[in-house]
Amino acid sequence: MAVASSGTAARERPPVGGRSLRHFAWDSLTPFLLIAPSVVLIAVFVYGFIGYTAYVSTTKWYGINPDYTSVGLRQYTDLFGLPRFQADVSNTIEFTILFLLGCILLGFGAAILLDQKLRGTIFFQNVFLFPLAISFVVTGTVWRWMLNPNFGINLLFDQVHLGFLKSPWLADTHTALYGLVIAATWQMSGFCMAMFLAGLRGIPDELREAARVDGASELQGFLRVILPLMRPITLSAVIILGHISLKIFDLVVVMTNGGPGYATDMPGFYMFVATFRQNLYGRGAAIGMVLLVMVAVLIVPYLVWSMRQEVER
């Protein structure tokens, strides 16, 4: 209390030549006190919890009651031998590649169109961006119905004479994953568009002019000047959307529950099912750790690179 009041006095009437040493010493601790709650929370909820999950993944815990009998790496070897998890891994890879391609092509195409100084582009920009504000659960609810082979989009294709586009969509093991890709791309491609558009608008006019003055055609200028400048943005988009794609959960639950068969099962969904529906805690923890490693491989170099770049700036 005494310290606090001396601090107040110092604030109101600072002594000539600086503040009192005591005031300085106490106040210099304030920054640490301000971030302490967050640091403790993150230390526990992120790093502590990851450590605990890693520990659970080395135990044989199944059933409601914890069982910490060590089984070494058995959970992991079992997991990778499991047909369901093998399907999960290949589904995730296929989904991620298609989803990234869809988002980048659609997003870049839309960004180029919106960069053309046409009138009314704000309207279109909002049309491409609004799905980002919506829950995956809403997206899944709507697309689940639109991709219902008997009631949904197929009927529209009939009506507008595009019958060849008809597909069993979510009802068939061969096409269900594409249904998920379409819904996810619908939701997230605007993110790519926003990133590319910000990048395109950041290119100074002199640079575009320079390409033109050199006698390059519009297309050559685009390929030689604009496209290389988009490379770091594409990398960012791949990493950010890629890690979202690896973790995908909501759309799977809402649209397919992993089916038919394991056609749309993903690690993020199987972790939930194994842990909270089948009580296979050891296996759930192992899936969680595999997911974490996949995401970390993508994100950690990017994080370090971003921070280095910032220090240089």
Partner: protein
């Protein structure tokens, strides 16, 4: 003269391209707007009409009945979501702004490393923390209802909020702070009287971002809230599909109801929403 020659070829090149550009923009727009059309049209049909018409046909006798049914089913969870989102958003914004202030203006040794470790928290798959999270929430008596979910959203919201505020405060010149410091202002005094008033747009970005993310979230809500009376609206909407299997008109009305608050915010404050979005790629 030289200005005219650079402008003229541009104009001529623009006109056919503009037509082509609009045509392409319209085609792409159909893809984005089709689900909106389906939601609106379907939610205005009666059950009988839904089963006898295609989703693309306009309702012959528009009815608000599906909305009545959706509100009856989802209103309690809508209120739950409001009770979840408001405190969680405010708390994470407060923590984020304090962290951002310290990490941008009171840089100590290791501050960048600490910041990087903090940021990693926003990328982790939550599946890798769910098991201990449930155990801890059970132990402290917060498992099963909204308070536990609020805590979890506040904690995992810290990284993105800190990031946005740190970038925001970095643009405020240090001289302003040094001047205040010489005048005898304390660390907290500088935050309250200088940083907070200057950071209203930063708060808008963070509040919008957190509101939207937490409103839309599904995994934590599904795992943590065991009590059906405390379910947030995303969980309830998904439950609707199970209980009203073929009642697509009610499902669509419910989907619209769930999407409404974030959409209203997007329409009113879209620019801030996009800033939050781009901040998430670490480059905003």
């Amino acid at each position: 003269m030289s200005a005219a020659t650079t402008i003229t070829p541009r104009r001529r090149w623009l006109t056919p391209w503009a037509v082509f550009g609009y045509a392409l923009l319209l085609v792409v727009s159909v893809f984005y707007l089709l689900p909106v059309y389906v939601i609106v049209v379907t939610s205005l049909k009666s059950f009988i009409e839904v089963s006898h018409t295609t989703p693309w046909q306009l309702p012959s006798a528009p009815t608000l009945e599906p909305y009545g049914a959706a509100i009856e089913k989802l209103l309690p969870s809508f209120i739950n979501s409001v009770e979840l989102v408001v405190p969680a958003t405010l708390l994470s914004a407060l923590l984020g702004s304090l962290n951002g202030y310290v990490l941008s203006k009171w840089r100590f040794r290791g501050a960048d490393l600490l910041f990087t470790l903090l940021l990693f928290g926003m990328f982790i798959p939550y599946q890798s923390v769910l098991i201990p999270m449930v155990l801890v929430l059970e132990k402290i008596g917060l498992y099963g209802g909204l308070p536990g979910l609020i805590l979890v959203h506040v904690v995992y919201g810290i990284p993105i909020c800190t990031l946005i505020f740190r970038n925001y405060y970095a643009a405020i010149p240090n001289e302003v702070l040094e001047a205040a410091r010489i005048d005898g202002a304390t660390v907290l005094g500088i935050y309250r009287r200088i940083l907070v008033p200057l950071s209203i747009p930063g708060f808008v970005v963070v509040l919008i971002w957190q509101f939207t993310s937490i409103w839309n979230e599904f995994l934590f809500a599904l795992v943590i809230v065991a009590d059906p009376d405390q379910q947030p609206i995303t969980v309830a909407l998904n439950g609707l599909a199970g209980s009203l299997l073929a009642q697509y008109q009610v499902q669509m009305a419910g989907a619209l109801m769930t999407a409404l608050p974030p959409l209203v915010i997007y329409v009113l404050l879209g620019r801030y929403f996009i800033r939050g979005l781009l901040a998430g790629s670490l480059k905003g």
